[in-house]
């Protein structure tokens, strides 16, 4: 298997049913080195899909392939290449950012000689270096999100999956996070992000997928989606048209 030519993520027939189908026979392919935005109204199945990809939720049916590795039969190998950042930054209050990054590097088994400069570099980039030795318990939401993001990136993942990473961040912090993600894509990594901030998807994503009722109802570049929605308008107009059509169907 040549990981370089494999898609970063390939989902086939992915299904998850709670009271009703949350993800319904979903097929999705995301190319390596792509910035992909996954959009959809509340309850569309975005988070459920991503949680199944990173191994937090077992699917009822279907397959998940990360760079050609079957993530359901060999989850450890798939997890080595993947990072997950949830909308609620989950970090340890009693650890300092530096201790947190050391722990994450330890979980991914990174060589300390490489992990430490990477950690310090990320903290510098995200403006966390002055707080490197403070415990996280007093941090604001934005700072916590930056620590969580640094943790996700410290093991240099090839696939970075983020669920609403910009929620509740101030403009400056949001800009820092976006800059870091764009730099990662330029370096050849793949980023998949869900967001309700359509302007972010419009400006950052190379391709956009729209989910509704657990199914992919549209996918493509902004221009392709505009065409599909009848042409013209902002992503917001396109999104509302597509979701409206799906709801009426």
């Amino acid at each position: 298997m040549n990981q370089a030519t494999e898609p970063a993520l390939a989902l086939r027939g992915l299904t998850k049913v709670f009271d009703r189908p949350a993800v319904d026979d979903l097929d999705l392919t995301i190319r390596a080195g792509e910035f992909y935005a996954l959009l959809g109204p509340n309850g569309a199945g975005k988070t459920t899909t991503l949680r199944m990809v990173v191994g937090l939720l077992p699917p009822d049916a279907g397959s998940v392939s990360v760079f050609g590795i079957d993530a359901l039969t060999d989850p450890v190998a798939a997890k080595r290449l993947t990072a997950w950042v949830s909308d609620e930054p989950m970090i340890y209050d009693k650890l300092t950012p530096l201790e947190y990054l050391e722990f994450v590097a330890g979980l991914w088994g990174i060589d300390p000689a490489a992990a430490e400069p990477a950690a310090r570099g990320l903290m510098d980039w995200l403006g966390l270096l002055p707080h490197a030795n403070e415990r996280c318990e007093g941090f604001s939401r934005g700072m916590r999100q930056k620590v969580a993001l640094a943790g996700a990136l410290v093991h240099d993942p090839r696939l970075i999956i983020l669920d609403e990473p910009l929620t509740g961040l101030d403009a400056g912090t949001a800009r820092q996070v976006k800059d870091v993600l764009q730099a990662r894509v330029r370096a050849g990594n793949t980023v998949i992000m869900t967001t309700h901030i359509l302007e972010v998807a419009e400006r950052m994503a190379e391709r956009i997928g729209v989910l509704s009722k657990g199914r992919l109802i549209a996918e493509g570049t902004l221009a392709e989606l505009s065409l599909r929605a009848g042409g013209g308008g902002s992503l917001e107009d396109v999104f509302l048209t597509l979701v409206g059509e799906s709801a009426a169907a």
Partner: protein, 510 residues
């Protein structure tokens, strides 16, 4: 209707909140019927009168001569009882200081903070007094039934103790605040409250160990030399004890002191409480830690997991206080050991049993923090560790922490008697593994900060943990004593484990 913002209006607001809180607690958040919960509480209260009758009725029937030995003995109990009330009052004051709740709303309102905090201090005093009454009522009722209405004075003294404990708790907490600052006060107050609370249980055991004969003969004070330095029968030191014996004048005196203390605290410290509350809830500004010079050290994912757990356990204020408390519980058996020196077999067996009980309970607490209290579950679940690797690392971390905590104590014990220490080590390992297994069966995702509420999340797990620890402790103690009855206790422990497993959510889901 009282004017908005007045003391009466604020008091009514506090009362409504306290009532709803209490109602929520007894009905498990509304899941049980209120009437049924009240009935259960009433039955428990009635049941508590049976042991109370057995313990104190004879004093009511025969009457007690309030001589120095009797006054001293009752004073010791009063001190222990007061320590329990003080612990609860400190816990309550700390919670009020550090929980943001409605603080920002009320502090930004035009109501004077002095008025608001005066009401809160008074409400706390009311709460602690109710607790004092609940604790003492079965004993006072038994004494009254057996010896007549003069014992009813005990209710007055209970209220006085409640008020005094609440006043003292505010003074101590604000003293700590000034001495240590808002950050350290939270930990210090929690630890002090836990240790004072433990002193009650420990002290009762010490009294029971030392007073082999008639309690009112005052085993302590009959120690040669002590009787001579105690104040005379008319001293104010004995007022609380005299009040308990039915002296209305003494009760009035103690109540007056309590009310005066409360008035002084309210007048002088209520405004400070407001300032400190704001400082305590405004801990958002991060503090500068020590500059770290150590390089990253990484061995394996499991090593990283163990190290993280140890770091977090060491920095957990609740765990520190719980561990200190558990270790304090070793004082009574140590006392028993020295008291019975020469008659070693019995006392050594007791030490084995206490060590095993403490080991089981501590492993349960540590296990909850490591297994259920994972603050970054997504991170751990998405890390490239093989299935079971995370749990194995956490179990290793808990057993390591247990060894580090109890190891030195067992080593000291081994210096006296290696034979009994061996039984203690094996017992601790088995009891610790058992309570950890129960934690694994009942694990539920929670924040570490919810540690104190872990008992309410699964009462079955709590009871199973305690009963398993006790059963293994009994088995280890009996085995150390060389009796085959140890096997029965071990079988009981295994049956409790089997019962817990069959009731666990994981088994039910399977």
């Amino acid at each position: 209707m009282s004017a908005t913002g007045s003391i009466a209006w604020l008091a009514a607001h506090e009362f409504r909140l306290a009532w709803r809180d209490w109602r929520g607690v007894i009905t498990a958040g509304g899941r049980r019927s209120f009437a049924r919960s009240l009935t259960v509480l009433a039955l428990i209260a009635l049941a508590l009168h049976i042991p109370a009758w057995a313990i104190v009725a004879r004093f009511g029937e025969d009457g007690v001569t309030p001589d120095i030995p009797a006054l001293a003995s009752v004073t010791i109990i009063v001190i222990l009882y007061f320590s329990l009330l003080l612990s609860q009052a400190m816990e309550s004051v700390t919670r009020a200081l550090y929980s943001r709740g409605d603080l920002e709303l009320v502090m930004s309102s035009p109501v004077p903070p002095r008025r608001l905090f005066s009401v809160r201090i008074a409400a706390n005093a009311g709460l602690v007094s109710v607790m004092a009454l609940v604790l003492s009522a079965p004993f006072i009722d038994a004494l009254t039934l057996a010896g007549g209405p003069r014992w009813l004075v005990g209710f007055g003294i209970s209220i006085a103790f409640g008020i005094l404990a609440a006043a003292l708790a505010v003074a101590i907490t604000i003293g700590l605040f000034r001495l240590l600052g808002p950050r350290r006060t939270r930990l210090a107050a929690q630890v002090v409250a836990a240790v004072i609370g433990a002193a009650f249980a420990i002290g009762i055991q010490v009294v029971a160990i030392v007073n082999y004969g008639d309690f009112m003969q005052g085993g302590f004070v009959m120690v040669p030399g002590i009787l001579g330095i105690l104040p005379g029968e008319d001293s104010v030191v004995w007022w609380p004890a005299r009040a308990i014996f039915g002296d209305v004048g003494a009760m009035t005196g103690v109540l007056a002191v309590a009310v005066l203390a409360m008035a002084t605290v309210t007048t002088t410290l209520a405004p400070r409480l407001g300032e400190h509350s704001i400082a305590a809830t405004d801990l958002g500004a991060p503090r500068q830690g020590r500059r770290r010079t150590r390089r990253f050290v990484i061995h394996s994912p499991r090593w990283a997991m163990r190290r993280k757990e140890w770091l977090l356990l060491r920095r957990d204020p609740w765990l520190v206080s719980q561990t200190l408390t558990q270790i304090l519980y070793l004082i009574p058996p140590a006392l028993l050991l020295s008291h019975n020196f020469g008659n070693t077999t019995g006392s050594m067996v007791v030490v084995v049993m206490v060590l095993v009980t403490v080991g089981g309970q501590l492993a349960g607490a540590l296990g909850w923090l490591a297994i259920s209290g994972e603050d970054a579950p997504d991170l751990v679940a998405t890390a490239p560790l093989p299935p079971g690797g995370v749990v194995r690392a956490k179990v290793e971390a808990v057993m390591g922490a247990l060894a580090m905590t109890l190891g030195p104590l067992v080593l000291i014990f081994a210096l006296f008697t290696p034979y009994h220490a061996l039984f203690a080590v094996v017992g601790i390992a088995i009891a610790g593994s058992s309570t950890l297994q129960i934690q694994l069966w009942f694990r539920a995702q929670a924040r570490r900060s919810h540690f104190r509420r872990r008992h309410t999340s699964s009462r079955i797990a709590t009871f199973a943990e305690a009963l398993t620890s006790f059963s293994w402790a009994a088995a280890a103690g009996l085995a150390a004593a060389g009796t085959w009855i140890a096997a029965i206790s071990a079988v009981i422990a295994l049956l409790i484990m089997a019962g817990a497993r069959s009731l666990s959510p994981r088994k039910a889901a399977a």
